[in-house]
Symmetry: C2
Amino acid sequence: MILSSKQQQILDFIHRFLSRRHYPPTIREIVSGCGISSTSVVGYNLKILESEGYIRRRPDVSRGIELLTSHPGHRLVVPVIGQIAAGEPIPVPTPDIWDVAASAETLEITEDLTRGRGGVYALRVKGLSMVDALINDGDIVLMQSVNVVENGEMAAVWLKAEKEVTLKRFYAEDRRVRLQPANRQMKAIYVAPENVEIQGRVIAVIRQLG
Amino acid sequence: MILSSKQQQILDFIHRFLSRRHYPPTIREIVSGCGISSTSVVGYNLKILESEGYIRRRPDVSRGIELLTSHPGHRLVVPVIGQIAAGEPIPVPTPDIWDVAASAETLEITEDLTRGRGGVYALRVKGLSMVDALINDGDIVLMQSVNVVENGEMAAVWLKAEKEVTLKRFYAEDRRVRLQPANRQMKAIYVAPENVEIQGRVIAVIRQLG
DNA sequence: CACCAGCACGAACATATGTGCTATAATAAA
DNA sequence: TTTATTATAGCACATATGTTCGTGCTGGTG
């Protein structure tokens, strides 16, 4: 079903209101914001918007309007707990970091980047040692705190002998582990299983420019 | 000043409430949510939280609490208006795309990725033609719709002769334009100024994995 | 024409909700 | 101890706000 222009207008107004004020409007605020003359008109159209799945309303709750469109994922604040660089292990997320928002640096993202996964933290890449994984100096990697990964997943692995972390696709093979750079033009490297320690799974890479 | 444990508790509750319900709690909901026995206690502590800059309140507005901490950037829905690939120009954002949220695909990010810039849209990278800019097949590039860029900025440039778009750092030199890959190990390419057409500025690259 | 569904209006109502006031306990300062 | 200062309770009040209901206006249908 197609929305009437008045319903579109109401939906837009809720959007604007929400992004300006961070809380939903009342029916009467919609009335004056959209030049409508009666609260019941808004109530009528809100009921339609709800049955069409555009919003959700909590009965008898003031300002109890939730927008269902265009916020499939919530905001999420992930701590940037340190840097990842060749030559040093990545910092382990300690419980107190999750606790308060006061971890030195944080990054705000939305859930559709993490796809609902928990235990997410971020690292800033230092140096050019990950270019073969198409990760540049200064990039941010979103990590999930895990100790094992599936074959083919991108992981942060600590190479004990080399004293080095690197971000590669992980493949457990017969007697060895194959670490495959994301960049298909680069060759894989092979290491002994006892030499690798998985420190986390990479779920996204973010690079900001300019 | 340090927050009392009750104030921390209230702040945390507002956080949790907001992320579950998308609208702020009432004073009485805070009362029952934090096991407090009187509305005036909450009022008392909210006043302190406000004077300390943790929240903002609108007088006489129900649920008029705004969290000032941890949402420096708002949610933002950017349209993914197409693909970028060598051999075809990038799609131009037409006005109707910004209009309705109904552009086929959208990406939800937060403002601290765009740093407040307007006219932002996204493209999905098709193919491996941008690997020298450390951009992989499937990556998403956030673009700002501009026609000129500063020297050194990463831009999407259309090479008329080659009939190709590419993402490179842009440098206007004496009689030529230098296009420098992000990957420092790769060489720059030089083209005639009349052969290039800037199609947008790259403000971020996002890669989702697994 | 009568009838009806979709939509808009305005007013009245019930309650959800912020605020103010007073009293009391807990704590710090003198 | 006495005196401020701070923190908590409890309650009453004003109003902010969702809901209901009767009415009128349109256009389409039999």
